[in-house]
């Protein structure tokens, strides 16, 4: 039996007692309703039975076992873990917004609809695109919308053989997975030694089957694709379209626009660039922007402004307005509450603030890159400027004293820093992808460098502490192999008791 002073680790089910309830939270009366016996539920599923205080205490304590932006520096490359201003949450949770049914008449939602229309307009402005749909519910769904639009564009022209999507080898895993979900074939092309697309390989891949190319710029390698205009020209000349993966938009916000680089479609991760919360893995929002060519294919609904006798009314544009639309991606209108948070953020940041975001995200990354290089860390692309992120490779540390990227990630946790992204991009061995974001101070970055130095020094002097790390967290290094081999995906009272007994 677990002792009584460790209720911290128990599951809510293990705190459950038959007959206990949070009485204020459900109707006092048990209504009498006629459900035919053959369709009715006869068993009692094992949901917890707990008091309100027990539930509050349980989840408060669970929350305290998390690292988060509010509590820790979180330099997770490719994820843009910047400060999530509290106002964005508290204002999005105003009752008029949270209480509105998605099918409520638009006349009962002009506050929300006005905000969404203005959000669409602002996103057009920052990306240089001419149409925006807010319905994709995450970056990967934005990608799906983008590739589906490219496919629909070719099909609408009778160009039905174009089914190849070119993807650089450094791309996010979602890119090839998305192309596959859209019924397209992936052609992977290699990256040159300095991190740019290999132009000769691109030329060789282009042809009459090319539907398009998916690019992230700056790329997942943390460098700007310098020959982007040449890439765009080559792809367009071959009849293909260009897809911009907006994962790294924070790097160029207010400085460069994907539309000006000749991209035809872009998805944005509003949960990265526009600071909506990551929420432990979601919800995100993957708004898409398009150029002229793809405008008819936008996913619906989209907010439109209609002139009426009483002034402008914001209404939904649907399949009637967009008969060639790729259709609907969500049951309603996408992650409306997330979009509202992004809107509030953009209004607080404003035009000048947008530019400063791109600038200071880049300043922080370049500063951190230089500090780490001076401390002896090897950069994956030493001749290049960092964008908003950069890559350190630990291949020599791994060879010399068996300090792997995984080890340093776990050791950083003991220094109260969240780990950078590890082992991505796949083509750089033992890599750390580090993205500080613009909201971190110089002192925080300096502290992180100090921790990195101490971990390597410890390893260099033969210490093995890093293999043991983390030692200061609620659990030590977890056995992932066991998790996959002996699947335990839900609590079952019997197995739990057996485990407790054997542990005692």
């Amino acid at each position: 039996m677990a002792s009584d002073n460790t209720p911290y680790d128990k599951l809510i089910f293990e705190k459950s007692r038959q007959g206990r309830r949070a009485f204020a939270q459900a109707p006092a009366d048990l209504a009498d309703v006629d459900i035919p016996a053959a369709l009715a539920r006869n068993d009692v599923p094992a949901l917890p039975e707990a008091s309100e205080l027990q539930v509050v205490r349980h989840f408060t304590r669970l929350s305290q076992k998390n690292f988060s932006i509010d509590t820790h520096f979180y330099p997770l490359g490719s994820c843009t873990m910047k400060y999530n201003p509290r106002a964005c949450n508290s204002l999005a949770l105003l009752p008029g917004f949270t209480g509105r049914h998605p099918y409520a008449p638009v006349e009962h939602g002009q506050g929300y609809m006005t905000s969404m229309f203005e959000l669409q307009e602002m996103l057009k402005a920052v990306t240089g695109m001419c149409g925006v749909s807010l319905t994709p519910m995450a970056g990967a769904q934005g990608e799906l919308a983008g590739v589906a639009m490219i496919r629909a564009y070719h099909d609408a022209r009778g160009d039905t053989e174009r089914r190849e999507i070119i993807v650089p080898d450094a791309a996010h895993g979602t890119n090839p997975a998305t192309a596959n979900m859209c019924g397209c074939v992936v052609r992977e092309i290699p990256t040159g030694p300095e991190g740019d697309v290999d132009i000769d390989a691109l030329k060789a891949a282009l042809g009459p089957k090319t539907a398009g190319i998916m690019l992230t710029n700056p790329s997942t390698l943390g460098v700007f694709e310098r020959r982007i205009k040449e890439v765009a020209e080559l792809v367009h000349d071959a009849g293909g379209l260009l897809y911009y993966d907006g994962a790294n938009l924070n790097a160029i916000l207010g400085k460069v626009r994907p539309g000006d680089m000749d991209f035809d479609v872009i998805h944005m991760n509003l949960h990265k660039t526009f600071s909506t919360p990551h929420g432990g893995g979601g919800p995100g929002s993957g708004a898409v922007g398009v150029g002229e060519r793809l405008l008819p294919f936008l996913p619906v609904p989209v907010v439109k402004a209609v002139d009426t006798e009483d002034g402008v009314l914001y209404d939904w544009a649907d399949e009637t307005d967009y008969p060639q639309s790729i259709g609907r991606l969500s049951g309603f209108m996408g992650n409306a509450g997330v979009n509202l948070r992004a809107y509030i953020y953009m209004r607080m940041v404003g035009r000048e603030g947008m530019r400063r975001i791109g600038e200071y995200a880049t300043l922080n990354a370049n500063y951190l890159q230089v500090r780490l290089r001076e401390a002896g860390f090897e950069l994956a692309f030493p001749t290049r400027r960092a964008s908003h992120e950069f890559i350190v490779t630990l291949k020599s540390e791994a060879r010399q004293f068996e300090l792997t990227a995984m080890d340093i990630a776990k050791a950083l946790l003991d220094y109260n820093y969240h780990a950078p992204t590890t082992y991505f991009p796949l083509l750089v061995p033992e890599c750390l992808l580090i993205e500080p974001t613009e909201t971190e101070s110089k002192e925080t970055l300096d502290g992180f460098v100090d921790a990195m130095i101490r971990i390597v020094n410890d390893a260099r002097q033969g210490g093995a502490r890093f293999k043991e790390a983390p030692t200061s967290l609620p659990v030590r290094r977890l056995d992932d192999h066991k998790a996959a081999r002996q699947l335990d995906l839900r609590f079952e009272p019997d197995s739990g008791e057996a485990e407790e007994a054997s542990a005692a």
Binding site: F13, Q25, D29, D34, P36, R41, P45, L47, P48, F59, L62, S63, H72, A87, N89, L91, L93, R100, A104, H108, G111, T114, M137, Q141, L144, G173, A177, T178, N180, M181, G183, R226, I228, K255, D260, G280, G282, R328, L329, S330, G331, N335, G337, I344, R347, M348, G353, M354, R356, E359, Y360, R385, T439, E440, K442, R476, D479, L487, L489, R490
Partner: protein
């Protein structure tokens, strides 16, 4: 006003360390003609005070209405503790739990969620959630195709109760992979499947059964599940989680139970919020776990043998498998699942049952008083759950507009998605509605219908 902490001294020192003269120098690898001067089209910054004032005005404009709309999203009481806890910074501003040791709060919450949602659906395993109910059905259909390797067909047959919007979403997401979605024949007197008209030679890869149906109907799920299984099809259940407190769980449908259950998680503590963010849940039988899309959390042990939680079966996922992944999804709706887990913990099965029964009872009351009005009839006989289709003797839109002018949201105009049901008005009254609310709606509607 970006949230940037740098003082002028900081910026100078940092540039000096880099060896750059200005921040502009850091962008010197970007072709000059791509750099823009200013972001026209984005307004000047507002302080938090000014944004707060603006948003309060807008929120006020949208509030204070009496809502009888369901159609896939339902207004339920949400205990204060749910969002007080969910928006704690430690949950709110954390990311996907890649570093398990630093994410035990999120991971244990998801493990508890998986346990609760498998209990509700009476199936073995759950993922950590998908985007929403509609896209969840698309993912379930794709999973059924991957799993049912013996089936030659790519036809997915839908019971008449399947939400027509879900069908459109499934088309948009899964259509490019060659799946065909088609409805089974409907018995117009009941709104449920017409068993006599079923094609017994059909060999679909999957049959989707929604319970309760979009129009508030209750399907004979046992019989339809068995029919589908006899044809070698996978059975995908689309269910409302609140209803599972009173209706038979998918795992118990027919002789073998449904193979996959999915649905919209919104009723479990997630606000209506104009349509999102919500979450889609998905559960299945143990033997199909490796074909499931999305994140999955498992329990394991640490170096000291202590119990802990981690993401598992990641070999199915896009960041490892790339083109061969089960889906491109890398999100779970973590925050919404946190809310749902807290909601289910506070209500327990007994609380959920009371909510379900009160909603069903209120809807029955609503239907009684509305059908007493001349020109309004019930489309299908009882029983139902917490939603019912009414048929009006005139077009629905002007009636809803007149109600809206009195701040009543009278229901969902079915003709926008299913014109074959004529002047159909879909209404729902959850436990949040009082007898006075229902009387107010009936009084207004009877006045409007008298014209």
């Amino acid at each position: 006003m970006a949230f940037i902490p740098h003082t002028d001294d900081d910026t100078r020192e940092m540039l000096a360390a880099i060896g750059a003269d200005s921040i502009d120098d850091l962008f010197d690898e970007i072709p000059k003609d791509l750099i823009i001067e200013s972001l026209d089209g984005v307004p000047e910054a507002l302080s938090e005070m000014h944004v707060a004032r603006l948003m309060r005005e807008r929120s006020r404009a949208d509030s204070g209405k009496l809502c009888f709309i369901g159609a896939g999203a339902y207004e339920h009481h949400i205990p204060s503790a749910v969002w007080e806890l969910t928006t704690r910074g430690e949950f709110y501003s954390a990311y996907t739990p890649y570093q398990a040791e630093a994410s035990q709060g999120t991971l244990q919450t998801i493990y508890e969620y998986q346990t609760m949602i498998t209990a509700l659906t009476a199936l073995d395993v759950s993922n950590a959630s998908l985007y929403d109910g509609a896209s969840g059905l698309a993912e379930a259909a794709l999973m059924a195709v991957r799993t049912n390797r013996k089936a030659k067909s790519t036809d997915v047959l839908l019971a008449p109760g399947v939400n027509p919007v879900y069908r459109r979403v499934a088309d948009a997401i899964a259509g490019n992979q060659g799946l065909n979605f088609d409805y089974l024949p409907v018995d117009r007197s009941s709104g449920t499947v017409d068993f006599a008209a079923l094609d017994d030679d059909a060999t679909p890869v999957a049959v989707v059964i929604q319970q309760p149906g979009f129009l508030g109907t209750l399907e004979d799920v046992d019989r339809l599940t068995d029919w589908a299984h006899e044809r070698g099809a996978m059975v995908v259940a689309v269910v409302n989680p609140t209803s599972l407190a009173v209706l038979k769980a998918p795992g118990h449908w027919g002789g073998e139970g449904a193979d996959i259950a999915c649905g919209e998680g919104q009723p479990l503590g997630v606000p209506l919020s104009s349509g999102g963010p919500y979450f889609g849940f998905m559960t299945t039988k143990q033997k199909f776990v490796r074909q499931m899309p999305g994140r999955i959390v498992g329990r394991t042990t640490d170096l000291d043998g202590k119990s802990g939680f981690t993401l598992t079966l990641q070999a199915r996922e896009q960041h490892i498998r790339r083109t061969k992944a089960t889906s491109n999804i890398c999100t779970n709706q973590g925050l919404m699942v946190t809310a749902a887990t807290i909601y289910m913990s506070l209500l327990g099965f007994e609380g959920l049952r009371r909510v379900a029964l009160a909603s069903a009872a209120n809807t029955a009351k609503l239907v009684d008083v509305l059908t007493a009005i001349d020109g309004i009839e019930r489309a299908f006989p009882a029983p139902g759950f917490h939603e019912a289709l009414l048929v009006l003797d005139r077009p629905v839109p002007p009636v809803l507009e007149a109600l809206a002018r009195e701040d009543i949201q009278g229901g969902f105009d079915v003709s926008t998605v299913l014109p074959e049901w004529g002047n159909g008005l879909l209404v729902s009254a959850t436990e949040t509605k009082t007898d006075q609310d229902i009387a107010r709606y009936a009084e207004s509607l009877s006045r409007i219908m008298a014209v």
